[in-house]
Subunit: 321 residues, 2 copies
């Protein structure tokens, strides 16, 4: 099974706080194999988990590792993509890990690492040709975006492009995990909504929507916050960078049909008194992914291909800390 057919296979891993989702992708974008494994805690467990996921995919494919062109890993936290370093991935117990080199040494396959939201942005853009320039807005535990310009991840000068979750939109708002008050993330981050709801549960945002549907006023207020925050994030992205499209993904999009109309309606009502804002047609420029769309793994698989072609846009992030 090796040879020409196998020569274009790239593997992408989406390493999350609880699970690793892996995909093997052909040059034409076809998904050839998929795997899902629990994530471990700490440097060695993260490396071992990634290696095991790749090994399982190669076994499924019936290929030798020589037929895999590259491995890409999307992972939360601060990532130095040029050095393949993961820095401050607190949910994984990683402070500073040379993940790319460790996986490359274990498997003998070129390996690239990227922040998971930025990887997902690349994946989302690959599924939406013509939607560029594009922002991918991740509504998960936290809120952050990735920008795609000219087919590539726009990292900015220091790697913090897309951090719109920490723009303050209400000086009277709730205190954010970042220390500021009234960040966008306090309104539409899953973690912040769960804390504000305060009743625990595995799916607190779903619980909030259910309670709001049942007439609970506090839940209705939090649901309104979710729509308001997501609308503010879309505005921040379009008014600063004028992306054509904002693709919304992340854990909260598992509730997509229950939140998409509300976000669009909020974008419209916020623009009701402003001909300028209406002229931007923001409600028509957003698109929600389905909750199970594996964009981070797809984008991770593209990292090797994307990084191999330098461009004037390919800003490398300096190492932090």
């Amino acid at each position: 099974m090796t040879g020409i057919a196998g020569s274009g296979i790239r593997i992408g891993l989406d390493v999350g706080g609880t699970k690793i989702a892996g995909l093997a992708v052909a040059d034409d974008g076809t998904h050839l194999a998929a795997v899902r494994r629990p994530t471990g805690w700490g440097d060695a467990a993260v490396v071992d988990g990634a290696v095991a996921a790749v090994t399982a995919l190669i076994e499924q494919l019936g290929e030798s590792s020589r037929s895999i062109r590259s491995i890409g890993i999307g992972i939360p936290g601060l990532v130095d993509a040029s050095e393949g370093l993961v820095l401050h991935a607190v949910n994984l117990g990683v402070a500073s890990l040379g993940l790319a080199s460790r996986v490359r040494e274990a498997l003998g396959i070129p390996c690239f690492v990227e922040n998971d939201v930025k990887a997902a942005a690349l994946g989302a853009a690959s599924l939406r040709p013509g939607a560029e320039p594009m922002a991918y807005l991740n509504l998960g535990t936290g809120v952050a975006a990735g920008l795609i310009i000219g087919g590539r991840i726009w990292r900015g000068a220091r790697g913090t492009a897309g951090e719109v979750g920490h723009l303050v939109v209400d000086p009277q708002g709730r205190v954010c995990g970042c220390g500021q008050r009234g960040c966008i993330e306090t309104l539409c981050g899953g973690g912040a909504l769960a804390r504000a709801w305060g009743r625990g549960g595995d799916l607190p945002v779903k619980d909030i929507l259910d309670a709001a549907d049942s007439g609970d006023e506090r839940a209705a207020g939090l649901r309104a916050d979710l729509f308001r925050g997501a609308a503010a994030a879309v505005r921040a992205l379009v008014l600063s960078t004028d992306v054509e499209t904002v693709v919304i993904g992340g854990g909260l999009t598992a509730l997509g049909p229950r939140i998409e109309p509300g976000i669009r309606a909020r974008l419209r009502s916020d623009a009701a008194e402003s001909p300028f804002m209406q002229s931007l047609h923001l409600d028509e420029r957003i698109e929600l992914l389905t909750g199970d769309s594996p964009v981070a793994a797809i984008g991770a698989a593209l990292l090797g291909a994307a990084i191999a072609v330098p461009s004037p846009l390919d800003k490398e992030m300096p190492s932090h800390g």
Copy 2:
């Protein structure tokens, strides 16, 4: 005087609501001649004023018009740079004007048109090599920014990149000219501050600062709004695009030494509770131009050079209207 020495001369015009500032610039950036003229009202007067400014510069230079490589015009309003059209420049009485072609026909010199803030961004970047990616934040009657990536103006998908003045940062704030409430521009736009102050005068923002210095509490509140709004604009630009530098220009920078420390202090105090925001060092990433820095004319002079070299970043704006 024609020949090699003259072959690199470019002319840049900054067409404002009351005056046209023109510059003749050599290839090495030297300013060879400067002119200042009043601006007229309406299509014909705007064209005639631009032509007269160029003619005056050529006379000063003692050159023939053949030695001028290009004319660039920065002008307020919505500009379709690819077509050389000025659209909705309400302060000039222009609804839709083919300014580039009219000036080209009159003088026989290639002519390019750009929004004045975007032209100023290009000019500011040319004065600050190594400061890229860069945002130029214009604090004038209104508030808007221009982004420079890879040496070029980033227009975005529809030409509205940099419109951070209309991001809402306080739902309880003042109503903006755009129709929304609590836009950044309501806090730090010269027009909005003058309206809030309500006492007329030629230099209302200077009057506000003077009154604040004398202990007037309402003026002190408006001064605090100015610092707060400018700090919010800087955050919006850096957290969305991660520009390395935010260069601040525009009419309000005539008051530079009286506002720069306040903007820096506000950036620091807003970050006081947030290690994440502190890690961005925003107060060190801003730079105020002096009030008389002719960045818009300098940038306009560069339009011909910049537009002549296509790049993947050279997004053209579709025609609006």
